[in-house]
Symmetry: D2
């Protein structure tokens, strides 16, 4: 029987780093976890008057639920996390501009002499049954329904080299990658850097555009169900994703072309290995068959995803069939809950 | 009656710049042009032994057909080019690595002390009826069919400021943007910089992955039909694309985040104008509804596309309904040819 | 006897591109040229009320004097230009901010939603005898004398590949490199791309900080004397500079690290060749002995210089002793004028 | 009387992060510290056969001595560290290439398909009395003496936001900035993020070129004497340096232009505050009078320094005269030791 662990963190249990924290739970591979995650504002932005720079306090931003210690995970292994369900916990969500954060503004790194853009909050209605979120202009009466497409912006494990990193920064350990590809039905793979892997997740989005250009998505608390597994002795240099149809590699860096290079390099290398191709043959195949969904172009590192449809890879199998196995566990769970 | 002009350039009529050339034809707005374009190698790479560094000679690379003078087009106007049909002219196509060119190699700009990667040619079978191109590994026997999805890598007008630019460089005048979004059924818009606009196109691809990571796509000569039009007094800061379903803005720059910024900035600004939104309201809407298809990450400037579905913009109309009008001309032409 | 050619362009003779223009003069190698160059504003900004966006008109910015055809210069040769004297032509100079131009502002490429910073003009007194320029704050009474250190921001030859480039853009042909290293006593080397080389120069600066952070230097018209020479059969991939004490290589690109890479790569390669070192040995030597003066971080391409003292290179000689030879011609000329 | 604390860490006391470690010593402001620092290889690369990838083990690279808890330092204060003396501890030093590290090679971030460049070690003779280090080519007999100019590549305090960062990464807390400007006679200022500041330093260089282009400098163990102080209530956004003649601000980021922007932005802002200038007036002054010494172009973040001579700032005083005060303590100490 699959074990199910439920966990809703108290406010003071939330974590703001990957690494540097004791685990909040210890589970065995194969466990299903029903987790509650707060939104990136810690739930403090509830209406258009709740300016984040006033109601939130640095560094208590972008809280994650965890870390979870997965038994038996050791450095050199790969942690697999399958997303069974990502469900908005409230019937509203918010998005905002934030001073000196976002792609179309001067920032702390792209330092300019401009004062910040106006800080504005947008509140969305979330209708899970209809599968929509509703955008409303703040200065005018334009309104439009957009498809609900829940995802997690922030997922990852403890980094190596004794590091602890703010949850807002994506890097080789995962973190705030902010890619819409991380949705229900996807398995994420992370190289394990410390005993127990110390997985955590947060920053749910009801939906997100490519690049999260203003710096925030349709931010929401989530009830999220995952199932975790460990692939012993399998390395994963950067976080990878697998859906029923596609393989994906991520890269997080600046400038954006380096995020692209990292992700495409990993996809080329992985394709060569999975299909048994020469590296340049794999380079050619990905050059014509590959996609490059943009993750974020606003966080301390930018994130790109390199993606290829499995059907172009001749039926190659990854990580000993982990995705199919976890997918089946998810199906059984969803049938019986 | 729509006028139809057919033009197949002689080898010595091919152009290697945007700007700095006399027009090869003069046509009126509304004219349909049936054009032949050579591939980016000038048709000299025909098999796996035709290494481009040996059979091609710089700067005679990436030839374009044109320039075409469109009567009445003046600086400050916008040229509209609707792609009626893009049809491979041969039953084969090629792709190659090229010394110090591509995203996963040291290049002339990202200068390293590495010797170049191996120069390798891949030859694809092109089956228009089946709608496929066939990839074959060079070092092994792996083979796979990929969907045919013809596009033009290089389209544009003469730049302003008395410039002439190599066809390989994309910038505000268009050029080698290498975006798969430039396919049949799409209307491209360019700001006019010189009298007659001086439009040219080339670099057909049977298909291309996102970013053209190895530096070349499935390169092919094309028989391409376009219809051109001029929108008087309408400015277009960077090339824009319109399909039946979506609006797109392009940006070409380095680093890649600046290409992203330019394209998203133009889409935010254009959305505000089309929908009658405040700029920050448009910023928010695009942040959640926008896409960011990668063009190229290998050319002298990188290209990003910012894209939004028209259905999220409340039925706003662009350029006085030009796309719909040209689409109708295309339909009539295709019905009767 | 050294031939001396004097040339002061009429306003309508000024050039705004490298390439695409007929030469204004033809001279033999060894000729001394006494040239007048206008400032980057075409002399139209004369006081604090002359806002450049009002008194200047795009693309009539950053005019250069030339092009000069040097007889016998052919593609594959190197043009040497020794700077005998760079002398401010007026007793004042100006600097300004300019809308969306500079390193600490959103720009057309680093596109943001910020309105431009204030456009402000500063007027400097230039005292050649005292060797100073005087800065005066616009909003307050702070004033300070800075050393006069005249240089040319823009020097170069016609680019290859049939291109014509705005004078504001630096690239492999030279252009608007904006490096303070280009001062009196320096010899600049350019690879020749077209018959006659077609050299031009402009954009005199009474002095400039590293990076030209606000986008403009202490801009001045100049009376500049150069002597030109041609080194047959010697290639120069990117502009190089030589002073009595140092060798320098330039690189112009975005992002800034690519400008650094290009310039350091050329210096490493050149050092290996001049000293007879293995490439990695030269890499190591430059790593410890090399300097990296910043040129500009505001133009369409950024410019870095890689520099090494000649005394660390064991007395290696460059370009057949051209610098020493031109230096002697300069000395003779200065003695007798 | 000035208190003097001597500390030479045992190998197992070395630290590999900023943050996440208990202090090794607690001292009062005004204390002189005589510290021993190991080289970046932990002293394991002693000759040309000691390839770092073989004798060193990740993440035990770039060890620092510390952290030192300075009593009374609280978040919101500034820590001042004056460098009294930086003296090579051995009569030899080493430099190396390292696989996929350096500016002219593909790296883990600028991911390419190239195999690494050759891994080579160079051993330098260090002659403190003569003030030289001797470079010897590995493949040939070229040799040259370069001036000894000791500096520390890595200095900093614990970061905020609960982070622990590898010593190899420079950021707002300091770290591996690798700027030659950090030499004897200089005072470094750091914003304090945690109680006690937790200062550490290491990575001594006998000298370093600009940008540390091959990835390593002339690496050496050092006997270094510092004196520390705390300026209460004074913020410092990024590490700053002060010599007798100049003020300097640092920025560490990618791409390199962002490191430039951060450093110049801080220098403009600081200048405005110190001199009482309007921000745009300070922008103009730094644009003409400022320098931009390159730190590193090889580490996980690149580092630029923005520098201005004090004589251009009208005698403005910084941090309540801390530099002059610590300089006097240093002089007294050096006179009497």
């Amino acid at each position: 029987m699959t074990e199910v662990v439920k966990y809703r963190p108290e406010p003071d249990e939330l974590s703001y780093t990957f690494g540097g924290r004791e685990p909040v739970r210890r589970v065995r591979p194969g466990t299903i976890l029903e987790l509650y995650t707060e939104d990136c504002f810690g739930g403090r932005v509830r209406g258009v008057d709740d300016l984040p720079s006033r109601v939130c306090e640095f560094p208590y931003l972008n809280p994650v639920t965890g870390p979870i210690h997965i038994e038996g995970a050791e450095p050199g292994d790969t942690l697999a996390v399958h997303f069974v369900a990502i469900e908005p916990a409230r019937d509203w969500a918010v998005s905002t501009t934030f001073p000196h954060f976002g792609a179309l503004t001067g920032t702390h790194a792209t330092a300019t002499l401009h004062p910040p853009l106006d800080e504005v909050v947008w509140r969305y209605d979330v209708d899970v049954a209809a599968g929509t979120v509703t955008y409303r202009a703040r200065r005018g009466d334009f309104t439009v329904e957009l498809p609900l497409d829940p995802m997690h912006g922030t997922v990852g494990v403890a980094p190596g080299a004794f590091e602890a990193r703010m949850t807002i920064t994506p890097d080789a350990h995962g973190g705030n990658m902010d890619t819409p590809e991380l949705r229900t039905g996807v398995t994420a793979y992370f190289g394990v850097n410390v005993p127990g892997a110390l997985f955590a997740l947060g920053d749910g989005h009801c939906r997100q555009g490519h690049g999260e250009v203003c710096g925030t998505a349709v931010e929401a608390a989530m009830n999220t169900t995952i199932v975790v597994d460990v692939i012993k002795g399998a390395g994963t240099p950067w976080p990878r994703l697998e859906s029923d149809d596609a393989l994906m590699c991520t890269g997080s860096a600046r400038p954006l072309e380096d995020a692209y290079r990292i992700s495409q390099h990993d996809l080329v290398t992985w394709t060569a290995e999975l299909v048994g191709l020469d590296q340049l043959d794999a380079y050619q195949l990905i050059s014509q068959a590959g996609e490059a969904p943009v993750g974020n172009v606003c966080d301390p590192n930018y994130t790109m995803v390199a993606k290829v449809a499995k059907r172009y890879l001749g039926g190659a199998s990854t990580y000993e069939g982990t995705h199919a196995r976890l997918r089946q566990i998810a199906r059984d769970y969803l049938t019986h809950r």
